[in-house]
């Protein structure tokens, strides 16, 4: 344990972080996006722990902060899943790119208010 250098931990956390970003941007499914966010949070948690352990071993703040972050991410996940379930109940899908009912650029819902209608005063 002592002989594993700090860089290794950081490399792992960076890989996790960018995997999370990649997933967040590319996944179409809301649940997959939620999982990606969890990856992001985990990578930061690792960073908290690692920096605390290697740079300030006599303090505990980093570890506690990681614990707080885990608790908050649990709460956030609960809320997000509740939202996703509601979306599914209403729309029967959780495809993030099709959640455009409120957008007037959506060709299905707002063919009538095409751009240019507002200019005609």
């Amino acid at each position: 344990m002592e002989n594993i250098p700090m860089t290794y931990y950081l490399v792992i956390s960076t890989i996790l972080f960018f995997a999370g970003i990649y997933g967040f941007i590319t996944r179409r499914n809301l649940l997959a996006m939620l999982i990606s966010i969890e990856l992001l949070l985990n990578s930061t948690d690792i960073n908290f722990a690692v920096f605390n352990r290697f740079l300030y071993p006599e303090h505990m703040e980093g570890l506690f902060f990681a614990l707080f972050s885990i608790a908050i991410s649990a709460a956030e996940t609960a809320i997000a899943i509740a939202i996703i379930i509601n979306i599914y109940r209403n729309l029967k899908h959780i495809e993030v790119q099709k959640l455009n009912k409120l957008n007037d650029l959506n060709p299905e819902t707002s063919a009538a208010d095409a751009p240019g209608d507002e200019t005609g005063r």
Binding site: I21, F24, I25, T26, M33, V96, Q97, N100, L102, N103, L105, P115, G116, E118, T119
Partner: protein, 695 residues
């Protein structure tokens, strides 16, 4: 000094009346609002009399001049360490005299209006505006500096505007009020420029400082005026320009040619208002201001004073000629007011400074004083007549002396006073003016005497057509021939063609008339020079018999012609001339045979053209209409409007449309897609990191 803080009540009580009536006037039933106005003005008048009495019984200064008392002075606005605007009350002989005039006429008009305006819509509003006007006018005359004068000058303009447009449902009244306001505002532009020029070069607004400095040295004034005399523009010194521009403001307010056009139209207001504002007080503000700055005018810029004299003399002649052919009785009085103000200004213009040379100054203000009473009297009488006849036109009147004896007598007193018949007050003041003009230039004296004769003529034309003869009815309802109407009148003088019998005005209206008539009789005997003279040293100006005899004879001649022409109804010849000016050019067999027919025809044409021109006020109003509509509105304003609509508006519209179009182009960025946002965010963050790392 006397303990004089209470004098502040004089302007403040009318202000209180204004505030009370504006705030609560609508809730006051009946004539309550009028009673409040009368009461407060009455107290103000009493305090003003007391102030004047106390002031004039103060001992003279060591050098024989009257004291001036600065009752209080409060700094309102400081421009720089040397120049500040102060508000205050400055008492001297001039302002004390003006206070007496204003409060007296205002009180009479307040009382008279109780009867005249009874039952009108906006009764309380009317009294509120009267209060505002009285406050402004009283504040104007006691201003210790020219800037306070300017403030109150505008306030009287506003209250005049409000009162002319009192019947705001009548289009004529509305346009007349606008005309009055715009014309006087235009003149006030000159006034403001004059004030700025004067204060820029002299560094003071104070009348006292200005006038004291003007009397120093001989013709060069104190050190204060040196910069203003040295700077010059277009060949005139800056001081001359300043005084000319200030006179422009005076000419606008006092309706001097060519800025007189608003006053005849201002007669659309209620008649008591015409009496108060457009005859007795506000229109003499110009005379007052020239008198206030008189030492500067007389000693520093005598050339400007001469210009004033000529402008005023021309105004006086012009207005007198036009007054001879007007048929609306209030317009006759309006033109007569313009003419009389011309007299006052002429007297100031021909006056010198100090001693006997200053006679013009004294008699000008004397005429202001007497004119205020007899002209207010004439207007109030006209109001009583209009009140009972329900028309302003002369042809709706005639023979009224049978029905309105009190008004008739009062009107007669007013006419005799303005015509200059002794012992009525107008004689004394007008005689002084004529003497002063004769001393200045005999031709000017002759001209002014002739105008005095014209005054007598048109006043007695007015008097005869209202009170003498008999009512011939409205020509539109009578047989078309003027002969028939005239014959009917001469055959049956007791014929009663009035739709309903005219009646004497109620006591609340006749009492002010009688009081003013008494004043018109009595004020002539005041030795005015002892109270008010150009250098402040009391001086007596006795009547000069040679001038007096000439003016009395001229006046009597004018009266005689008027009575002959109009006394027993209208003489047919005059009737024809007045109603159908072309009657003289109609050829008939005899005149065609006559060899001198061509000459006669030419003369008649010329005379008729003159008559028509006079009836149309020599086309001055049309000239203004031409300038404003054809040149300014059509020429300049149309081009400006095009520029505004197409260039300035086009620029802004283009800006708006361009923004809108660009917005539509770029709105796809705001797609609502969370993942796109996240990608953009990521790219942004990476860019930032790269920038930080590389730089």
């Amino acid at each position: 000094m006397f303990n004089s803080c209470y004098t502040a009540l004089v302007p403040l009580l009318p202000l209180l009346s204004f505030v009370l009536l504006i705030a609560f006037g609508r809730r006051l039933p009946g004539k309550r609002a009028g009673y409040i106005g009368c009461l407060l003005t009455g107290i103000a008048a009493f305090v003003a009399y007391h102030t004047a009495w106390t002031y004039f019984s103060l001992p003279l200064e060591a050098d024989g001049t009257r004291q001036t008392v600065e009752v209080f002075s409060w700094e309102w606005l400081r421009f720089n360490p040397n120049l500040a605007i102060r508000l205050g009350i400055y008492l001297d002989a001039l302002s004390a005299m003006m206070w007496v005039v204003i409060t007296t006429v205002s009180l009479m008009v307040h009382i008279y209006s109780l009867g005249y305006m009874a039952g009108e819509r906006g009764f309380a509003r009317y009294y509120a505006f009267l209060g505002l006007f009285s406050f402004s006018m009283l504040g104007l005359v006691v201003a210790p500096n020219i800037f306070q004068t300017y403030i109150f000058w505008e306030l009287v303009g506003v209250s005049s505007y409000l009162l002319i447009g009192f019947y705001y449902t009548k289009p004529e009244a509305v346009s007349a009020s606008k005309k009055a306001f715009i014309v006087t505002r235009f003149a006030d532009l000159g006034f403001l420029l004059g004030i700025l020029t004067l204060s820029y070069f002299t560094g003071t607004f104070d009348f006292d400082t200005l006038c004291r400095n003007a009397t120093e040295g001989t013709g060069v004034g104190g050190a204060l005026f040196a910069p203003a005399l040295q700077a010059s523009f277009l060949g005139l010194s800056a001081l001359s320009w300043a005084m000319l521009l200030i006179f422009m403001g005076c000419a606008g307010k006092s309706a001097l040619f060519p800025l007189h056009i608003w006053l005849p139209d201002a007669m659309e207001g209620p008649t008591p208002v015409s009496a108060l504002i457009h005859a007795a007080t506000m229109v003499v503000a110009g005379v007052f201001l020239v008198a206030r700055l008189f030492p500067v005018y007389a000693l520093m810029t005598p050339g400007v004073l001469e210009v004033i004299a000529y402008v005023a003399a021309f105004t006086s002649l012009y207005a007198a000629v036009v007054a001879c052919v007007q048929t609306d009785i209030k317009r006759v009085l309006a033109f007569s007011t313009i003419s009389q103000i011309g007299f006052m200004m002429v007297a100031l213009g021909v006056s010198g400074f100090g001693g006997h040379a200053g006679e013009g100054y004294t008699v000008s203000l004397f005429h202001l004083f007497t004119h205020a009473f007899f002209k207010a009297l004439l207007f109030l009488c006209a109001g009583a007549i209009i009140h009972t006849v329900h028309s302003n036109e002369m042809k709706a009147m005639g023979g009224l002396y049978r029905y309105m004896p009190v008004t008739h007598l009062c009107f007669l007193v007013g006419c005799l006073a303005i015509a200059g018949i002794p012992p009525f007050s107008g004689f004394f003041s007008k005689d002084g003016i004529l003497a002063a003009t004769f001393a200045f230039n005999p031709w000017m004296g002759v001209l002014m005497t002739a105008i005095a004769g014209l005054t007598a003529f048109y006043m007695f034309r007015l008097y005869s057509r209202i009170f003498l003869g008999s009512h011939t009815g409205d020509p539109t309802s009578q047989p078309a021939s003027a002969h028939a109407a005239d014959r009917a009148a001469s055959v049956q003088p007791s014929v009663q063609p009035y739709a309903h019998t005219p009646h004497e005005a109620p006591a609340v209206m006749t009492v002010p008339l009688v009081f003013l008539a008494a004043l018109s009789l009595a004020t002539g005997f005041i030795p005015f020079g002892r109270f008010l003279s150009s250098d402040g040293i009391p001086h007596d100006f006795p009547i000069q018999p040679s001038v007096a005899i000439g003016s009395i004879l001229t006046a009597l001649a004018g009266i005689g012609i008027a009575l002959y022409a109009y006394g027993r109804g209208m003489r047919p010849a005059f009737q024809r001339m007045a109603d159908r000016p072309n009657v003289f050019v109609k050829p008939n067999e005899q005149s065609r045979a006559c060899s001198s027919y061509a000459v006669a025809r030419k003369c008649a044409l010329k005379r008729n053209a003159f008559l028509r021109a006079a009836k149309n006020r020599f086309y001055i109003d049309r000239f203004y209409l031409f300038v404003t509509h054809r040149i300014i509105f059509q020429g300049i304003s149309t081009a400006l409007a095009w520029f505004d609509r197409h260039v300035i508006d086009g620029l802004l519209y283009g800006l708006g449309r361009g923004t809108e179009k660009i917005s539509h182009k770029i709105r796809f960025i705001q797609s609502g897609q969370l993942q796109t946002y996240a990608l953009v965010l990521l790219i942004g963050a990476l860019c930032l990191v790269l920038t930080v790392l590389l730089i």
